[in-house]
């Protein structure tokens, strides 16, 4: 199986054959986001605005007004931050734009802080009407695309690029706004993740099982809206929650889960993510190790916390 970004772009190309409203708006990065096939097959529906993110988003809103279904193809670090105000106004206008945030998290590695997209969830979560998705595997990412295309209104999809995630879902997997997927049952603690961290938490749960810790794993591919019921149930049934994410601690998935927990079922929550620091320099995998976002480090951290 392919990686999330490649699977997403392949699925969009296939959909574009059936749905002539689909177009891609891109900022000079077709190759990076596996969009060369779309560009070759549908040159009229592939719009490269160049290196100009404010225009990237504004043009997309204009296309949506024409009845088209634009997918904004950009590294999330540039789109979500540089064009944040245009994205907010897309939501205010309730434009049918799907914002595809590629190369999310720390995937850009040694390029450093300018290129790491670790604040996007906080920004997107703050915008009314915006659906915020962070699928975990190739099939989950394609299913999120299907769900986004049926929706009237703006959607942000945080797409795992450049980093491998094992497939967890069957070919008939579906994705729904406000839904979740329990990937492992357990009674001692619930490990909650989205995006890249979900598969790592599944692996961490296996490691914990070897030590006699029975961990539930909950994948929240939809962060806004969020599956409050699944979170509250997990809190009630397992008593403690761990949330892991490749995002700053403030305002990301951990924040979203904590908001639900304090409103419904207060229990201790351990937030694992990026503290308020800019990452050091190094390859992506080194950065994930640095912040304790590998299966081994996650299992170790959970073990310590439960003690």
């Amino acid at each position: 199986m392919t990686d999330c970004a490649t699977a997403f772009s392949a699925a969009l190309l296939e959909l574009a054959h059936k749905d002539e409203r689909i177009c891609i708006v891109n900022n000079d990065s077709a190759e990076t986001h596996s969009a060369l096939g779309f560009q070759a097959e549908f040159p009229d529906r592939f719009i490269d605005v160049g290196i100009a993110e404010q225009n990237l988003v504004g043009v997309s809103i204009g296309l949506a007004n024409s009845g088209l279904r634009p997918f904004v193809y950009s590294a999330s670090c540039f789109m979500a931050s540089r064009a944040l105000e245009q994205i907010k106004n897309a939501a205010y206008t309730n434009a049918n734009v799907v914002f595809c945030g590629f190369v999310s998290g720390l995937a850009y590695g040694a390029l450093g802080g300018t290129h790491h997209a670790v604040e996007d969830l906080a920004w997107m979560r703050a915008i009314p009407r915006m659906k915020v998705l962070a699928p975990a595997t190739p099939r989950d990412t394609v299913a999120a695309l299907d769900e986004a295309l049926t929706h009237d209104g703006p959607v942000y999809i945080r797409i795992v690029s450049k980093l491998h995630t094992p497939e967890l879902f069957s070919p008939d997997h579906t994705f729904s706004f406000g839904g979740s997927a329990q990937l492992r049952d357990g009674t001692d603690v619930t490990l909650i993740g989205s995006g890249l961290l979900t598969t790592r938490l599944v692996e961490a749960a296996h490691l914990l099982a070897e030590d006699g810790v029975d961990a539930r794993v909950l994948h929240l591919g939809s962060i806004e809206p969020i599956d409050a019921e699944a979170i509250a149930t997990a809190a009630r049934e397992t008593g403690r929650l761990v949330v892991a994410e490749d995002h700053v601690i403030n305002g990301g998935l951990g924040g979203a889960v904590a908001e639900v927990v304090v409103r419904t079922t207060p229990v201790p929550v351990l937030q694992i993510g990026i503290p308020q620091v800019f990452a050091p320099i190094g390859p992506a995998e080194f950065l994930y190790e640095h912040f304790g976002l590998t299966a081994q480090a996650l299992a170790q951290r959970v073990r310590q916390w439960l003690r």
Binding site: G58, L63, N65, P70
Partner: protein, 273 residues
């Protein structure tokens, strides 16, 4: 051009000015200087150029980037029958649809603008959408001059020319004034026509209160096949009311009932030829 077209636009502009003045005066908020500056451009477009109503998918698109000229816009929409005229009295009030920068709550408004510098990108997207759909519909964007200080305009201007979007018309309401001073004292735009031209646009400068000239240039666009059109409309902030004209205080100053009467009287007495 038919003289009655010009006469129709002119009379609607006079009515719309009276509505906008009354609206802003009663509400105690708004940007009357900008409303009056843009009014003739709006009326030329709405009563002489734009094709199709809000429910027509292939309608011409109009985007008010200088969204604070909202009382003018709502007054025109009221005269077009898209908004009950009595609703103008709710302008900016509790739970009104009429935000003081325009929004899509009102039929006929395409986008929620208001933060300056966003309209031209929306227009480029709209023109690209028309091309993808094989439509010849046109897109008009009305920008203020001060908002051309936003860099996003020039991102959009570059792309429009590079994609030969000749169904796109940008109209600059060139009243030379921004909130507190002249554009040229704050962050100079001149030579503005040369800027647009160097970005690949066909440029015309017209008197933004000359209905005949406005209709002529809007109906003639594209002026050059393959090029987007920029109409620099030289305007006067507060146009039509002598004590407001060219007076920067009237960007958003409150209009007392006495001054409103004086302004309405002036409009009534103005020659309507």
């Amino acid at each position: 051009m038919l003289l009655q077209d010009v006469a129709l636009v002119r009379s609607q502009a006079a009515r719309a000015r009276a509505l906008a003045l009354t609206t802003v005066s009663q509400a105690g908020i708004g940007h009357i200087g900008a409303d009056l500056s843009a009014m003739d451009i709006l009326c030329a477009l709405y009563f002489g150029v734009l094709r199709g109503g809000p429910d027509d998918a292939d309608r011409d698109r109009f985007i008010l980037s200088k969204a604070h000229a909202s009382a003018a816009m709502y007054s025109v929409l009221a005269l077009k029958g898209l908004l009950p005229q009595e609703e103008l009295a709710t302008f900016g009030g509790q739970n009104s649809r009429l935000s003081t920068v325009v929004s899509t709550r009102v039929p006929g408004i395409e986008f929620n603008t208001g933060s300056l510098g966003h309209g031209l990108s929306l227009g480029v997207g709209s023109a690209l959408g028309a091309r993808i759909q094989g439509s010849t519909r046109r897109t008009f964007v009305l920008t203020g001059d001060g908002e051309l200080q936003e860099g996003s305009n020039w991102e959009a201007a570059m792309l429009a020319a590079s994609r030969n979007l000749d169904t796109l018309v940008a109209v600059v309401d060139r009243n030379l004034a921004q909130k507190g001073a002249s554009t040229e004292d704050i962050n100079a735009l001149e030579p503005l026509d040369e800027k647009w031209r160097s970005f690949g646009w066909e440029v015309r400068t017209v008197d933004g209160h000359d209905i005949h000239a406005l209709l002529d240039v809007f109906r003639s666009a594209p002026l050059t096949a393959g090029k987007p059109t920029c109409v620099i409309a030289s305007t006067t902030k507060g146009k039509g009311v002598s004590f407001m004209e060219r007076n920067l205080e009237w960007h958003s100053r409150r209009i007392t009932p006495e001054l409103l009467q004086q302004a309405l009287q002036e409009l009534e007495e103005a020659p309507n030829d």
